[in-house]
Symmetry: C2
Subunit: 418 residues, 2 copies
Amino acid sequence: MSIKTEVVNVAKKAKEAGTKLAKLGSETKNKALIGMADALLKERAKLQSENEKDLKLAREKGLSDAMIDRLTLSDNVIDSMAESLREVAALPDPVGEVLNMQRRPNGLLVGRQRIPLGVIGIIYESRPNVTADAAGLCIKSGNAVVLRGGSEAINSNIAIAKVLEKAGKTAGIEEGTIGLITTTDRKAIDEMLKLEELIDVIIPRGGEALIRRVVETSMIPVIKHYKGVCHIFVDESADFSMATEITINSKAQRPGVCNSLETLLVHKNIAKDFLPKVAAALKEAGVEIRGCSETKKIVPDATDATEDDWYEEYLDLILAVKVVDDIDSAITHIEKYGSLHTESIITTDYNNARTFLDDVNSSCVFVNASTRFSDGFELGLGAEIGISTTKLHAFGPMGLIELTTTKFIIFGDGQIRQ
Amino acid sequence: MSIKTEVVNVAKKAKEAGTKLAKLGSETKNKALIGMADALLKERAKLQSENEKDLKLAREKGLSDAMIDRLTLSDNVIDSMAESLREVAALPDPVGEVLNMQRRPNGLLVGRQRIPLGVIGIIYESRPNVTADAAGLCIKSGNAVVLRGGSEAINSNIAIAKVLEKAGKTAGIEEGTIGLITTTDRKAIDEMLKLEELIDVIIPRGGEALIRRVVETSMIPVIKHYKGVCHIFVDESADFSMATEITINSKAQRPGVCNSLETLLVHKNIAKDFLPKVAAALKEAGVEIRGCSETKKIVPDATDATEDDWYEEYLDLILAVKVVDDIDSAITHIEKYGSLHTESIITTDYNNARTFLDDVNSSCVFVNASTRFSDGFELGLGAEIGISTTKLHAFGPMGLIELTTTKFIIFGDGQIRQ
């Protein structure tokens, strides 16, 4: 079977299965999700033995420890895949809700009914748990899914998808709802991205290079973010200990994720007093500082920041630090170098808090809190399928609602247009 | 100046101007829109003399009467451009609204604030009034706009844009907010579609070929519909005179638009009684019938429908007619041949009305009303910038709200993540 045929077959089956899934009630979907959670735990040994095949190849290829860690289906990872499915089952079902019902002057009653998007395409890299997490969110929101994971996790992904499909079928979910592309040839992605009539949206999850390639190739709408160059601006009026604590949390609590801090902007009037304090705390947390010339005068340890540093998503224990004239300079810097992901101001000034909230148009804008809260669970969405920094359809963390759309439903009694 | 340089310059200016526009209050924007309406009327003679240049070239090129009609800036067209701008000024401003404000367990207060998309790219064909209509809707919703009209209307478009820009400037709208690409070379479209960092969304308006080309080329998200193959299903229980009146209105009131009827599906149990009645009314309205074999037995005048007819958007006084077994066959037909645009059921049966509303996933689903109501004004949006049959971001007619997105705003008091 050619690559194209395989991809088209998976997507066609998903589309058909999705049409049926869209009509299922919450009870069936929830029963399926709980059945899937149980099945993952029950089939733990099988999943781990398939995972071992991937790990063996990865070791032979000499993949880094970090990559092998991401690839491993440890007991913990399997437990948390099951737990996630249970949590998704417990969330409210967004499908079917009718919004904005209104009566028109001619008597037509017009509303918007929430419906699934149809088929979600997910393209992801090494973590095999995405297979279960994404499938769970898609099923809950009434969507079929076409999954295309990384080649290094192929045996694990096939095993997980098989367990999920079987458990889903028992609960009344059509075969094909969880479609997995099993060929590891990269051409499969190109074929997938042509299927405008079968797949409604593509959500790529992975490094910037993968995502750029998807955007360039896809005829299907893509929801994505390239990177998270997140900023904190410490205003003149900031409480120093709050500013320090939030900076350390934003940078060092988990530096490898997209909502961690990359650039700290400090108001010039407090730079002399604040920078030594925060620099000491950063040093203690093992963070290297790359500073502007003003910063370097105050923090002699800092290395020189180059122009490139302001664009950089380090994903590491490195922080760019810049002294700015005022809030307007801070906002101008964020507009120029930012990635529309997440920014936070630390201030006690009412007007500056309002200015920052209004004028910074990133997807998440905080006052006096860590950038690490930029996350679907933390912001109350109940779950997260990804994050968008394009403004179309969704902007910021995306939950179940973002996997749906609305159609107009109109109740008439014989109206014709004049 | 190269084509690329021109396009990039227009888009860059629009992005800068858009940042300022996003911060303006409704009063300034409304004043500008009313000033623009006044200016169009005041500069009527100038607009018409520039339009005459386009018309002269069109006549020399031998363009069809219909095309020349669409191109003409008659007194009526100019009056209605001005009137549209006034109506948009009177609509509520969507920008700034805060939705779903909620308190998280850790005290964070999380909401979603409505913001403009940024820069809207509009690619359109001959009608020069789109220049004013699109600019008005974009400005009201806080967006700058990059316009790329058809080459045959270039003198008219330049004249309109100049008048609008001057009037906008007087009211405090930055120059460059209404960006018009003046080169008529088609390569300008390709250059425009690469500017992912400058333009937030592309809305193409025109024929299917133009739109397909845009989707294939664009790196920027596109909101579009290819065509409107709209259906009416006349159920067994339908009131015949209502069904006839709605069919005639949907097909013949304005056959050249996307929400007009293209295929009539009739329940087999009433075909013998209903088809002769509706056929007579269609004949009187000058509509040609292309029927399935069952239809032809009952309506001998009908010509043979081929498989292609079920996919066809005639945009003309032609109607495809098919006898179907029941509501499920009707829905299956719509799923196979439809374009997700607009469908209507004529019925007096409660369960069938519900089934149709729930199971048909087109962007507009009607019970007992004309498909011609599938329109932003008619559905209560106050205005229409276009219609979407892709489910991402917007599905169905799009008004001002659809030209905005929301960002998360979060009020904290020192929260860090555990």
